[in-house]
Symmetry: C2
Subunit: 426 residues, 2 copies
């Protein structure tokens, strides 16, 4: 069955040839431009999964890195790399734009291929990085020396499995497995099935140390990490490659590893997650309320803020005794959304306030000074008071009108620009 | 101020004279009838609060006890006492009925007075009782030797204070302070205000041992009791006179002792509790639902069952995710009622079911076998299922139709005879 899957996900010979030709062409052009303009670059390297042959069919990303000497200033590095990049894409008849990660780089579209031209400093194993991507050439060196054709196919199976489960990608939205993490896991476990067989028994926390680390370092020292999955980066032992993986996704991986091993079905490689979501959505609903905001930033920036904001609103909702069934954040190209489904969204005006035990004299005094309709039940004081919000919509109106203090205000979301959308419960 | 109260609650000279005349008359008649019929009785005694002058104005209860030798069988005792009682009330031109406590006794109405003629065995301090009321003559002996006029007035103040707070009476409905307990407390604290001054600082548990106990017993041994207030009966150290007092009422007493001492207001003696209740009732309401049952037994029997039944229904209500604001039991002459006020009484069809953590393999297996729409959030499994009861009325219809297992079935309440009454929330 896995062989069948591989046939579907392995890039064709033709695809591979085309990518490799284009990559070589980009590199040749980089050297040409650098020579012509007299720029001092050390190397131009084809890196990333397509360079290592661990990419999936239809993955048309080509990563070319320009390596600089550490004596070059970061400003100079940026200027030179952008200049070379622009010129190279132009000569290949592509379109290009400047993208921003830790520093700006050129992203070009050449035919159906996406070509990233990224500058970095050349460092050696164990050396400190200057820019965030300086490790990438070392990652490539480490992997290319160890991955054979068989292992590359196993990486592909893992990636396709994770993709179908919505667990592939280390961005702040997905919080899943990066490509590099997939490659290290396969190096360690030798095969996709070996990995799943081990993962099905993982507990609250799993630590993985590649054997190669003991060959590369004389006295390796391993930092403690707080994340559920810990995979030490062979290129930098102070780094956990699995750091972006959320606890929830770690658990999902364990769960679906078991499910797949119980029932090795092709379904698991075909948008399995979407089908699960459809199955879950096909049900009665509670009261659904959505906050919609104009999107002023990219997902990478907006997602953590949406999640933090929702968390702080959840507290507020619970304080007001409404009951959440489910909640989520999502975005489209123009808007950011925070959505809730409610079990309890309407309450009577009357509210019960818990007070102290009769024996706590001082607290009792405060309580009866503060509240009027006080009574004793069991050993404790209670008071009837009036509820401020009888319907969840009243609370949300005050939220977007900025009338509520003590909630975390997100930096890049303008609360007052929010719109409330809602559907009556079925 | 307390002197003013006393003027109001102290029986008039005329009242006292009338009661005492009637009591003497009853006793004379008892001896007469016993002589005429040749019944072997030891004594006829006027007992209770009116005999000790600790009763409140308008309290027209006269307790007359007929004491028998321990050699008389319980059956004989009952027959003789009922026969004498009936004849005596007849001779006084009263009406009479047989009442049942631990054993039957005669209750007569003579003019505006209620005359109880109760048989018991004569025992001494420290001797075992045969019938439940055998201690009463000893209680009287103990108190009458110690209470002077001043103390009797202090008892009256305490009784009136407790009555106004709905804390007077040791029946299963009130769960408050018995008359005898009031008298012992005043004996111990010497005055109403002394008692309140001490009570305001009482903690979770208060133990009171009268000094007289050390005079009456050589090596008194004190049992442990589990109740919040412990007052050893000087007539029987194995008995806690405050046993019927509920924890809630113990707390109320402490609370209102403080309130009264802060603000010595006559209000506290004038149906204070009813006024508090009126104040509490004057508010918005949740959804109010009442179960109404034909009353087939007296309050003493029905109350504990109503409370137990309500407790078990409360569990059921919470299991179904409805939320109670308040609940109570009450009766009138023909019906028993259990009432709830709900904060949440309506829910969407959809229900969220908590599952195990992903790591608990076996429980995970069971969970996914049982439920269809399963998902992972954080570290745990959840499932969407359907709710059986979307409205509290649906649940209660099944309750009175006897469709729900696992609830405690009360002995003297026929669930299926129940009627549901409800009011829409404001």
């Amino acid at each position: 069955m896995l062989e069948e899957i591989l046939k579907r996900i392995r890039p064709t010979e033709e695809e591979i040839k085309e990518i490799s030709n284009l990559a070589e062409n980009v590199i040749k052009n980089i050297y040409d431009v650098a020579n012509e303009k007299g720029y001092n670059i050390l190397e131009a390297l084809w890196l990333g999964s397509s360079a290592r042959n661990t990419h999936l069919k239809g993955d048309h990303d080509i990563d070319i890195f320009i390596l600089f000497d550490k004596s070059v200033s970061i400003d100079e590095l940026e200027v030179i790399a952008l200049d070379i990049g622009k010129e190279v894409i132009k000569r290949l008849n592509g379109k290009c734009q400047i993208n921003y990660a830790s520093h700006p780089y050129i992203q070009g579209i050449v035919g159906k291929y996406k070509v990233d031209i990224v500058p970095c400093y050349k460092i050696n194993f164990g050396e400190k990085i200057i820019s965030a991507v300086d490790r990438t050439p070392l990652h490539h060196k480490f992997l290319i020396e160890r991955l054979d054709e068989k292992l590359c196919d196993e990486v592909r199976l893992l990636k396709a499995f994770l993709k179908s489960l919505n667990l592939y990608g280390s961005d702040v939205k997905t919080k899943g497995f990066s490509g590099y993490l997939c490659e290290l896991l396969i190096l360690h476990y030798k095969s996709f099935l070996n990995l799943l067989n081990d993962a099905k028994d993982w507990g609250e926390r799993k630590k993985i140390i590649l054997n190669d680390i003991f060959e590369l370092y004389k006295n390796p020292k391993f930092r403690e990490f707080d994340e559920p999955l810990i995979v030490y980066d062979p290129v930098d032992l102070n780094r956990n490659v699995a750091a972006p993986l959320s606890r929830e996704n770690y658990c999902k991986f364990i769960f679906f590893a078991r499910e797949f091993l119980k029932n090795m079905n092709e379904e698991f490689f075909n948008d399995y997650y979407k089908k699960l979501e459809e199955k879950l959505e096909n049900r009665d609903k509670g009261f659904i309320l959505t906050l919609k905001f104009p999107k002023t930033e990219v997902d990478d920036i907006i997602y953590p803020q949406l999640e933090k904001f929702q968390k702080s609103l959840n507290k507020l909702i619970e304080q007001n005794e409404f009951k959440i069934l489910n909640c989520k954040c999502y975005t489209d190209s123009d808007y950011a959304y925070i959505e809730w489904e409610f079990l309890v969204y309407q309450l009577p005006k009357i509210k019960l306030r818990d007070g102290p035990e009769v024996f706590e004299k001082e607290r009792v005094e405060k309580f009866i000074k503060k509240y009027d309709k006080v009574f004793i039940k069991g050993c404790k004081l209670y008071a009837f008071t009036e509820r401020k919000y009888c319907h969840i919509l009243e609370l949300f109106k005050d939220i977007i009108e900025g009338k509520i203090k003590n909630i975390s205000k997100p930096k890049h979301i303008d609360i007052k620009s929010g719109v409330i959308l809602w559907k009556q419960a079925t």
